[in-house]
């Protein structure tokens, strides 16, 4: 299958390990991955902060870039982010219609129908739950709100994790409660966001996991940022990185690099 990857703005600039792992995983499974280089951002930050007018050109840009990819014979579009896919699927057409651009709304819907979050692509489209990964760590999984309640990915990520060799999956208590990230909420209502994070971290720590994983780098940036501040000894790793890991090539998260680097000085 020919698959276009949405790196996501955050993934491209701050957490490239997630889209890199997505590419490596899909290539290992025998697919051809393309990266439409003109892509920027899906516009989620603008939409969810209430900047629907400013979001319009961003949405149009995304729809056009990936529309061209589909025209060039791409079969599916994938993003290692539940919230970006949520925005593409549930908000792009709304932003276009609100601006009275029905043509863009239809194009957005066509693109959205071919856009998948990583676990959806693997389980629903490619029909695979064992990706041949190897990851010998104790891992807990946080279902991000948008993957859970916007996309309804249900237990697809867990199905994938259960088939990873060497991985010890432990349950996260109160897993379905939001971690408190919420995009600009984390800054505009920083204290409430932090209060929610405190409870999420308490649950992560109580699971005695070494790694907390999820399908969204943004939520992981939040949870990981808190765990790092506390020197908790738990790191956050994107689901794609775990699935891309094999016994030949294990994904070493950037955050571990940092800790090692610091310790060696």
């Amino acid at each position: 299958m020919r698959i276009a990857v949405v790196a996501t703005c955050l993934g491209d600039a701050m957490f490239p390990q997630a889209p890199i792992a997505t590419v490596q995983l899909l290539e290992r499974l025998g697919h051809q991955v393309v990266f439409p280089a003109d892509q920027t951002c899906c516009g989620q930050m603008h939409v969810n902060t209430g900047y629907l007018d400013a979001a319009l050109p961003v949405v149009r840009h995304h729809v056009e870039v990936f529309g061209r990819a589909l025209d060039d014979g791409v079969d599916a579009i994938v993003a290692p982010s539940g919230s970006c896919v949520g925005c593409v699927r549930h908000q792009h057409a709304m932003v276009a219609r609100r601006a009275g651009d029905e043509g863009l709304a239809r194009a957005a819907e066509e693109g959205a129908a071919r856009t998948y979050e990583l676990s959806e692509l693997l389980v629903d489209v490619l029909g695979v739950t064992d990706v041949g990964a190897y990851y010998p760590h104790r891992v807990t999984y946080h279902p991000t709100c948008h993957s859970l309640r916007m996309l309804r990915v249900a237990d697809k990520p867990l199905q994938l994790l259960r088939n990873v060799r060497g991985l010890q999956l432990v349950e996260l208590p109160e897993a379905e409660v939001c971690c408190g990230f919420g995009g600009t909420f984390a800054v505009k209502n920083a204290e409430t966001s932090t209060a929610m994070l405190a409870d999420k971290m308490a649950n992560v720590l109580s699971s005695r996991a070494e790694v907390c994983t999820a399908g969204d780098s943004s939520c992981l940036m939040h949870i990981g940022g808190g765990l790092s501040r506390l020197r908790s000894g738990v790191r956050t790793v994107h689901l794609a990185e775990i699935l891309a890991s094999t016994d030949r090539d294990s994904a070493v998260p950037a955050s571990t690099d940092i800790v090692f680097e610091e310790a060696s000085r």
Binding site: A7, A13, P16, G43, P57, G225
Partner: protein, 489 residues
């Protein structure tokens, strides 16, 4: 009373009543988050109600169909609200009641105060009612020399402690039983000084206090859960039976209802009386469902007035998407599942309507007057986690309404804010791939900030909101784009 004789307004100058607080959500939340007692009380109470609701909702096989039925009935009702209200008025009038129309809180209060005065009574008993909390009726009555006694146990606790409700269903959810005992000892006339914080003892104390009022009051004031247009029947759903005392014992009953409470037919109650108790108290059926239709000679109140309250609802109805907020049946399921509400409590929202539904209802009812309007901060009091939509028994798309109200808040900016400029700059970068690459390069400078620590621990405002509690990793040495160019071209 003096104020009224001088021709002054009987309530606070805001004609909307209690729909707007005095400070923004983040400011109010700052205080609430530091209140350990509040955090503990709310955490315990919402956790308990959530578990009860999940259990009784889980046992209904056709719950999703019921939700869809509730959603459809409400959508139909809103689509023909004017005709249904006229029908309700005709039916209530035809059965011996009198209907009054109030455009705002101020007018509703004036109508009720005049009606109470007309009876010569200086005391009224009240059934728990969000509508009269919204209008600030108790303050208006007090200003007119009429003492209003709340008879719902939780509402009584709130009134005795000179507090405000923080939840639709459990107005004193922010109090625990030790605090309630102290409030009773301090404020309840003639209370037994050896009162303990045993729930039964507390309830008995309240019962003794209230019974005196039930037997003497000549006027009862209530809200409404449902008003059936086809028959003119009103309904109140409750747990304690105190509401039924107020609805049946006084000579005069005055009911204040938001216009959105109307349902077309008696049969529609079949859906809502299943949805409401399971969603709100987590019970299969609420203990008391009272219904009354106009006046019945020799049985119950012999004078009945119905006050139909608009107070901004027509504005909400005018918004094709926003009107969904009027579908709310005040079950409070969205409050109980909201991680923001659970940690900040109801008072942080300022408005009498807290939680996710309050965050989309209050700013629509009042309108957003400008960038400094505290209600403009309410739609941002959410991480958009979506738990509210899943819990809502009538499927109100609260996350979508939150985004929509954020857009309304942005549209109310009369001058560009720092946030506006950031968003506009970001939008320009995000539509020009060349500029986006440049912006990514600039972000790489963050590696300097991170320095040898490898993590960013302090940033200037507004990003200090992040780094006060969370680290940021250093930006990567190579972006994804650079990696792709290196490995795939």
């Amino acid at each position: 009373m003096t104020a009224v004789e001088l021709g002054m307004p009987t309530v606070a100058s805001d004609p909307h009543g209690h729909l707007r607080g005095t400070e923004s959500f983040p400011r109010a939340a700052h205080r609430a988050l530091a209140d350990t007692q509040l955090r503990r009380n709310l955490g315990h109470a919402t956790r308990t109600i959530r578990a009860k609701r999940a259990a009784v909702v889980g046992e209904v096989d056709d719950w999703e169909e019921l939700r869809r039925a509730g959603e459809s009935l409400k959508a139909d009702t809103m689509a023909r609200l004017p005709e249904l209200l006229v029908q309700l008025e005709e039916q209530v009038t035809g059965r011996g009641g009198t209907v009054h129309w109030a455009r705002d809180a101020e007018e509703a209060n004036r109508i009720v105060v005049d009606l109470v005065r007309g009876t010569g009574a200086d005391e009224v008993v009240k059934v728990k009612s969000m509508a009269t909390q919204e209008t600030g009726l108790n303050e208006a009555l007090e200003a007119a020399g009429v003492a209003a006694f709340e008879t719902d146990l939780a509402e009584l606790i709130v009134q005795l402690s000179h507090d405000r409700p923080s939840h639709f269903l459990v107005p004193a959810i922010h109090r625990n039983r030790a605090e309630i005992r102290e409030i009773f000892l301090r404020e309840m006339p003639g209370v037994d000084p050896s009162l303990t914080d045993e729930p039964r003892r507390l309830a008995m104390a309240a019962r003794a206090h209230l019974r005196r009022k039930f037997l003497t009051a000549r006027v009862g004031i209530s809200g409404v859960n449902f008003a059936v247009a086809e028959t003119g029947t009103l309904s109140v759903v409750e747990s304690e039976g105190n509401g039924r005392m107020c609805l049946t014992l006084p000579d005069t009953l005055i009911t204040v209802m938001g216009v959105e409470k109307v349902v077309p037919t008696w049969r529609d109650l079949e859906v809502f009386l299943q949805l409401l108790p399971r969603s709100s108290t987590g019970e299969r059926m609420n203990p008391y469902t009272s219904t009354w239709t106009g006046v019945t000679p020799g049985d119950g109140p012999q004078t009945f007035h119905l006050v139909l309250l608009d107070n901004g609802r027509s504005n909400v109805l005018a918004s094709p998407d926003g009107r969904q907020a009027l579908h709310c049946i005040r079950c409070s399921a969205c409050l109980n599942v909201c991680p923001v509400y659970e940690r900040t409590g109801g008072h942080a929202y300022g408005s009498i309507y807290p939680g996710p539904i309050g965050a989309v209802l209050s700013p629509q009812l009042t309108g957003i007057s400008g960038p400094d309007d505290v209600n403009a901060s309410l739609p941002y009091a959410s991480s958009l986690c979506g738990a509210c939509f899943d819990a809502c028994p009538v499927r109100i798309d609260i996350p979508h309404l939150l985004v929509q109200q954020r857009a309304a808040a942005v549209a109310a900016h009369t001058r560009p804010t720092g946030q506006d400029l950031t968003m506009q700059a970001a939008a320009i970068a995000m539509t020009t791939p060349g500029r986006f690459k440049l912006a990514e390069k600039a972000l790489g400078l963050g590696r300097v900030l991170a320095g040898r620590k490898g993590r960013i621990t302090g940033l200037p405002w507004p990003m200090s909101g992040w780094t006060n509690a969370r680290d940021l990793p250093a930006p990567p040495a190579e972006t994804f784009r650079q990696w792709w160019e290196r490995t795939h071209s």
